[in-house]
């Protein structure tokens, strides 16, 4: 039973990380680093919660969160793509702005409770011992996040549009010489990243812990960015990384439940320490990271 609960919580904790990291991966593949994931998630979480609690419709909340994520990502797209501002500075500012904006619009909704999105069972499969209840009694977004990973992997590797996206991120000069619509591709990639981050945020406020609190994402947007590096820009590996981090988050709850005598405050820093540790192990080989990262990542297009 405990094992089933750990698995169940791991999958749920990983879902917002998968969504946000997948969006960031697509943006980075097009050559745009967006450090605003945390801010976009927060705005998604707040707006999704507000709409769901006013209209009593969870799905409308999720949709609005997605749109809000796109709107916030649009700021980043205009500044970094059209105006060629520094991507690091702009992304950081987007995170700070998103944190302030979400706290502002959500101020009246702190402490309100809604009925979150409910899990549903997949017949037959859910009766498999131990793992059945963990894997096949989840909410729809858990399944959707996994499907999206496969879809993005297929899109990037097997479609012409995916190839164009990757070549824009690998070499802006070559892509420009080929006459590819660099800016349009980058806009779409960044907006997709915003949509995914908005949805990831709403997963937290509408499903994972159905309430809104200031800065409730608690750094998950940043962990998602770290996951992209961990996954060495390969979609399928995001699943692996997200379940690893989901597991670390779940361990906290398990240890507390077992009455292990460690302060919950110290335990709550585990996911962040795990992120630092894993990033350090991955980054040791600097040349390898440079080889797998999109070559034009962070570089604006200088049209001559």
């Amino acid at each position: 039973m405990i094992f089933t609960n750990i698995l169940n919580d791991t999958l749920r904790a990983a879902t917002p990380l998968i969504l946000a990291a997948l969006g960031e991966l697509v943006a980075e593949k097009s050559g745009v680093l967006n450090l605003g994931v945390e801010g976009m998630m927060l705005v998604g979480a707040a707006s999704g919660f507000i709409v769901a609690s006013v209209t009593d419709n969870i799905y409308l909340g999720l949709l609005i969160a997605l749109v809000a994520g796109i709107a916030i990502a649009f700021i980043h797209a205009v500044l970094t793509i059209t105006i060629s501002t520094n991507q690091v500075a702009t992304g950081l500012a987007l995170s700070i702005f998103g944190s302030g904006l979400s706290a502002f619009i959500g101020a009246d909704y702190v402490g309100q409770i809604i009925t979150g999105l409910q899990p549903f069972s997949i017949p037959i499969l859910e009766s498999i011992p131990v793992i059945g209840k963990a894997f096949f009694q989840q909410d729809i977004l858990v399944y959707l996040s996994i499907i999206l990973v496969f879809l993005v992997a297929w899109f990037l590797q097997k479609t012409r549009s995916g190839l164009i996206l990757r070549s824009v991120g690998e070499s802006t000069t070559a892509a420009h010489a080929l006459g590819l619509p660099i800016n349009r591709v980058r806009y779409l990639a960044v907006l997709f990243g915003g949509a995914m981050a908005g949805l990831a945020g709403a997963y937290l406020s509408l499903v994972y812990t159905p309430f809104w609190a200031e800065n409730m994402t608690a750094g998950r947007g940043w962990i998602a960015i770290a996951l992209v590096v961990f996954a060495t820009w390969k979609p399928m590996r995001i699943l692996l990384g997200a379940y690893l981090f989901g597991g670390v988050s779940a361990i906290q709850l398990i240890l507390q439940g077992l009455g292990v005598d460690i302060s919950p405050y110290l335990l709550s820093s585990l996911p962040y320490l795990a992120t630092i540790l894993v990033l350090t192990i991955i980054s040791r080989d600097a040349t390898r990271i440079q080889l797998v990262a999109p070559a034009s990542l962070g570089k604006p297009l200088q049209k001559l």
Binding site: L35, L92, A93, G98, A103, F104, Y265, Y272, A286
Partner: protein, 353 residues
Amino acid sequence: MFDFKLEPREQPAKIWLVLSPLLALLGTVIVGFFLFRLLGKSPITAFTTLFISPLSSLYGITEIAVKAAPIILIAVGLAVCFQAQVWNIGAEGQFTLGAIFASAVALVFANINNYILLLLCLLAGIVGGAIWASIPAILKVKFHTNEILTSLMLNYVAVSLLNYLVRGILQDPQGYNFPESAPFSEFASLPSLITGTRLHLGVIFALMATLLIWGMLQQTFFGFSVRVIGASPSAANYAGIKSDRIIWLSLLISGGLAGLAGACEVLGPIGQLRPFISPGYGYAAILAAFVGRLHPLGIILSSLLMALFYVGSELLQIKLGLPLALAGVFQGIVFFFLLAGDLLIYKRIVKSQ
């Protein structure tokens, strides 16, 4: 899509360099106007409360200085990092560690009955911030770990540590189980500069640090190296500037200054260690550093503006019942408009045929 295109200018347009911050402020006011209308508040009343009320009393002005001091201290250090292309996002955590270290010294040596204690506390704060900043420095230099992510993760770890300590060994035994430390003694407290206000010595430290950093950037080889890296990383590499040293020094300087800011905050306005010691100074300072264009004098002005937003939003909360988070919204909007203004500085808008 558009019937005009952008051409890069050969030289940044000097006039827009001066005008763009003013335009950014104007843009922010326009957005604010619609925002207040949307919220059903009179924009005139709201703007008077936000911009004029804080400046019309001694208390308001000193409160702006009290809030600007930590932002200046942190932002000046961050400007050194950012110019050297070292992305220290961990100032909030370094600030927290500075506060923890200073508080620990103030509590452990509470029997020292002269101002040597205060000096020890401040030094401890600098050390605490520098230690926290040295973690991303080690990881970046030894293992090439991205300092944006490591320094940021450490912000969350620092908050966990603070929460643990104010409920553990640093908790006041006579404090009715509140998560707070004992109040600091007179000799571990920053003296007030103007009686009846919270204006404290930290403001002087902030101005001194600005002068010191400015001098260092202009006069020393380290400052020269930082400026070369800022202008062209590849040229710096070619010139044999040792990037590891630059990473270490810039992180230690900014960590130490953030730690000092944290120490000043608990030894001054707060007077004890608590779970909430910063309204996000470490993040506001990132914006202040960029809005001030990484220039020490610009940073003083932009930090004062960020502080004005904090104080003005507090007044808006009291008088008009608007959420306090409005400060962060305005801080972000100013920044976006300033970035957008770069378009006018570096590009020329021409009509395409």
